[in-house]
């Protein structure tokens, strides 16, 4: 299918590159790790550093999910920064254990603790030794300095750290592992539904579909219910295969690669299933692994999606989009836009990823001459590029509102974060069903833009 990479035309006259980052299109690593930890049942995230990082991250995440999310901090003070965080970590672990009675504590380091060279691993060993014979929560440690990576790196590092500290080998089961990537709660639920319909038994890590999008409560819950049970994580070393979603992960050290190397669990890397092409590949892999045909329900979803593509194609045909966000999200989004006839004119990520061009262009059909693919980009860069190349629509998280406001073009909200609308956690992106919703929203956004920018006021479009 669409695997050859395109010839990329480099546009000369776009924005000079700035030394500083202006309106960042990335977040810091402990944020990604915290989300992973909240996707583990009974797990409380602990950010090892000073208070601000944890509070800002909480605030940021809460504004998207609109759910209580407790993220603790080891609260570094001046003295801690000089003498090290051993005491703070120990006290923090004690206090969290007493207050939350958690099944696990997920520790993420910060720029601060990393720079002073805090040896968290050995602190954890000391803590375990000091608590011999006492039942303590499972302790997971992810090293997440943000000067080395973004929230996406923090996410994958935390998944890998979780698996390394908890997964064990044993007799091979028929279970599947799935590492879905940074998707919405609705996406996670949909993927689980699909796996259920294929009659898989599986472990999804992380699974914040309930913890970060839960019901209204009858009593206050210290930690919102749901998440991947620690016991199922322990058995991940016995599964037959691990599916990880995100094309860029194939060459990286991830949870899946660790499970493959250590326990012989086959690692399968697939793109995030957005668009018919990527979703076909996803279902294809599931058919192969399960030995079952795609359930009728999904055949019909696919059929309806094709029908909708045709119904709406003239509205989108030839339109130019800017898309941005996490590398793998952008790659899948680009291939989806490409298959419906929208030119992904600017594909940007805030992360520094050398292979970004390759990742994105591998999903595009041939013949595109004028696509700009940028890593290490920020929203000011994007705005300047958009001004010079001209775009019609913006697809991505709510920070793109800044572009929308400046360019007076529509923004279709997708991904994380959604800070200016309700329901960001319920946006469905994946599968035929998710693609259907995205497609409808994109078409409607373009129609609405046309309708509201015309004086006539067409009531039939």
């Amino acid at each position: 299918m669409q695997t050859q990479s395109v010839k990329l035309h480099t546009v000369k006259k776009t924005a000079p590159s700035f030394v500083s980052t202006r309106n960042a299109c990335k977040l810091c690593a402990p944020l990604g790790a915290s989300l992973v930890f909240r996707g583990i049942e009974g797990c409380v995230p602990l950010i090892h550093g000073s208070q601000g990082c944890a509070t800002y991250i909480r605030r940021y995440v809460i504004s998207h999910f609109k759910e209580p999310i407790d993220i603790a901090s080891s609260n570094f003070s001046e003295a801690t920064a000089i003498f090290g965080g051993a005491d703070n970590l120990r006290i923090a672990l004690d206090n969290l254990t007493r207050q939350y009675r958690p099944a696990a504590i997920g520790i993420a380091s910060t720029c601060l603790s990393e720079t002073i060279g805090d040896d968290v691993r050995s602190y954890i060993e000391q803590y375990k030794a000091a608590n011999k014979g006492v039942e303590i929560p499972a302790l997971i440690y992810a090293s997440t300095p943000s000067y080395r990576g973004t929230h996406m790196d923090g996410y994958h590092e935390a998944v890998r750290a979780t698996v390394i500290s908890l997964a064990a080998g044993g007799p091979r089961s028929r279970r599947l592992n799935i590492v879905p990537g940074f998707l919405s709660a609705a996406d996670l639920r949909h993927i689980k539904e699909i796996l259920d319909d294929f009659h898989f038994s599986y472990t999804m890590l992380p699974d914040y579909s309930e913890t970060l999008d839960g019901e209204s409560w009858s009593d206050y819950q210290k930690l919102s219910p749901g998440g991947t049970p620690v016991a199922s994580i322990r058995s991940m070393g016995q599964s037959v295969a691990t599916i990880q979603l995100g094309g860029s992960l194939a060459s990286m050290d991830t949870a899946a690669s660790y499970l493959q190397e250590t326990f012989g669990v086959k690692a399968v890397t697939l793109g995030i299933p957005i668009g018919i092409g990527e979703t076909d590949r996803f279902f294809g892999a599931l058919e192969e692994m399960s030995g079952r045909a795609m359930p009728d329900k999904y055949k019909k979803e696919r059929g309806r999606l094709v029908d909708a593509y045709i119904d709406g194609h003239k509205v989108v045909s030839g339109k130019r989009a800017v898309i941005y966000g996490e590398a793998d999200f952008v790659a899948s989004m680009a291939s989806f836009l490409d298959e419906i006839g929208i030119v992904p004119a600017l594909c940007a990520t805030g992360a520094s990823i050398k292979k970004f061009k390759e990742i994105v262009s591998s999903g595009l059909s041939e013949g595109h001459k004028d696509i700009i693919i940028r890593d290490d980009a920020d929203f000011e860069d994007m705005l300047e590029i958009c001004r010079s190349i001209g775009v019609d629509i913006i697809i991505g998280n709510s920070k793109g509102y800044y572009l929308a406001k400046n360019l007076s073009i529509p923004l279709v909200r997708a991904g994380f974060p959604i800070h200016d609308r309700i329901g960001g956690q319920r946006i469905l992106h994946v599968g035929y069903a998710g693609t259907q919703q995205l497609f409808d929203r994109i078409v409607n956004a373009l129609i609405e833009h046309k309708q509201s920018s015309s004086a006539i006021g067409y009531s039939y479009i």
């Binding site: 980052t21 570094f76 001046e78 720079t115 206050y220």
Partner: protein
């Protein structure tokens, strides 16, 4: 049951039950707590951020800048440079070899591109560790570019949010007094500690205009560098949100002999009090008369509406958890106007004096907390069966999950709550949330209602028996 940590007990107090009041505040948060507090940097950023024609460059890794991009509702009537987020976005090499070069390059290019009136450089945690001499870089760029480039020492771990306020005040103080030319009227003030959230500064400025008092500068709502430069020409400083700006007022009193008053613009009484304090200070018959007229007009305008809301809200109970304690005082009083009793009240950064005053104005049985966390807050709220929580973004979902109405009173709010018309917005918001029919579906709310009914029935039964 949610347990209260031993180390936290000195920061929780119930009025009327525990003997003498002695709040152990001003403490750093317990390790492992989920505090609602932020850091030193946050304090500095809050104060300086609304200066709309300055460049705000955050020196450090990207997080601190990314999380604070346009998060507050501080409006500007002109330039909006403050709404952009600039970071030196330090990478590993710079953390190892130092970030001075990058800082220099970033400042130079940004000043060249955006032509700010001044620049603030915020040092975040890492800078305190890698030892960048940001002072020297700022001086150099300042000389080359001909604008003030002011370092703000706001490393997150070096204290609490309050230390960040202080650092911001020091930064402002460097600008103050640098314009000797301009003159100010004898009856002139600076507004300190109002950040023009949802346009609140404009409401207050309008009152002063009607009173005949000139506002020289507002620090820092809708702030401008040039106004701050001549702030020392004002005859009086009017400080609201005392937690953040009293320090600056004291410095200005010492160096420029400008007296100050602490006020609050939340609620009918406090707003009127604030305006009268200023009028009395100048002791000018015309100003006094104008003030009386203004207050009378405004109060009679809003009073009927407040009364109408009171009918619905009388007898409800509220919890208040806000950043600064001054805001808490006003809220207790404003709620009283609506017939709502305050069952729980606390702040992130109150000091001993503040808590003593809070204790004084609260009813018996009110729980007073310093630097609380979600677990404690939820426990107290369900014990007291409150109907409303007033707080910030981080508290909102706690209230909602428990079926409790919520009023946003934070730096992100989009509704002006200050002044007389702010009181009306406040009433509308509180009423709109408490009276919403959606609570009928909340399991937690229903459970609490059932429990209360049972308790009532029990006490009636007991009364009948005795």
């Amino acid at each position: 049951m949610i347990e209260i940590l031993e180390a936290r007990k000195g920061q929780i107090f119930e009025k009327g039950t525990e003997g003498t009041f002695d709040m152990a505040c001003d403490k750093v948060s317990v390790a492992g707590s989920v505090s609602q507090r932020a850091c030193v940097f946050c304090g500095s950023r809050v104060v300086l951020y609304p200066i709309a024609d300055a460049l705000h460059l955050i020196h450090g890794p990207v997080g601190c800048a990314a999380y604070t991009w346009d998060i507050r509702g501080s409006l500007s009537s002109g330039p909006e440079l403050h709404r952009l987020s600039f970071s030196t976005d330090l990478r590993e090499e710079e953390v190892i070899y130092g970030g001075e070069k990058k800082l220099y390059a970033a400042l130079t290019e940004l000043i060249g591109a955006y032509h700010p009136k001044a620049a603030f450089v915020y040092a975040t945690c890492i800078i305190g560790l890698i030892g960048d001499d940001i002072q020297a870089v700022c001086r150099k760029v300042s000389d080359e570019q001909g604008i003030d480039v002011i370092p703000v020492h706001s490393e997150g771990f070096r204290g609490t949010k309050k230390d960040g306020y202080k650092a911001a005040c020091e930064a402002l103080f460097r600008l103050i007094g640098t314009d000797e030319q301009s003159i100010a009227a004898p009856h002139s003030i600076n507004i300190l500690g109002d950040f023009n959230l949802a346009g609140e500064t404009w409401i207050i400025k309008e009152y002063y205009k009607q009173m005949g008092v000139e506002v020289v500068s507002c620090m820092t709502g809708d702030g401008r560098v040039d106004e701050i430069r001549r702030a020392h020409k004002a005859a009086m400083n009017v400080v609201q949100c005392s937690g953040s700006m009293t320090y600056l007022a004291k410095m200005m009193e010492k160096d420029y002999g400008i007296p100050f008053e602490r006020v609050s613009y939340f609620g009918i009484e406090d707003t009127a009090d604030a305006l009268y304090k200023v009028a009395r200070h100048f002791n000018d018959p015309a100003i006094l008369k104008n003030t009386e007229e203004l207050v009378r007009k405004e109060v009679s305008r809003i009073y009927p509406e407040v009364e109408a809301y009171r009918k619905y809200l009388e007898g409800k109970k509220a919890a208040i958890y806000v950043g600064g304690s001054f805001k808490a005082f006003s809220l207790v009083k404003a709620l009283r106007h609506l017939g709502i009793a305050t069952a729980i009240v606390g702040s992130q950064t109150g000091n001993r004096e503040d808590y003593e005053y809070l204790e004084e104005i609260c009813d018996e049985g009110t729980i007073i907390v310093d630097d609380t966390n979600p677990l404690e807050l939820s426990r107290f709220m369900s014990e007291r069966n409150v109907d409303l929580l007033i707080g910030g973004v981080k508290e909102r979902p706690i209230a909602y999950k428990m079926g409790i109405a919520f009023c946003d009173h934070n730096h992100e709010r989009k509704e002006a709550l200050a002044g007389f018309e702010g009181m009306i917005n406040f009433c509308r918001e509180v009423h709109g949330s408490i009276m919403s029919p959606v609570w009928q579906f909340s399991p937690a709310k229903c459970l609490r209602a059932q429990k209360e009914e049972m308790e009532d029935a029990n006490s009636i039964r007991q009364a009948a028996h005795s």
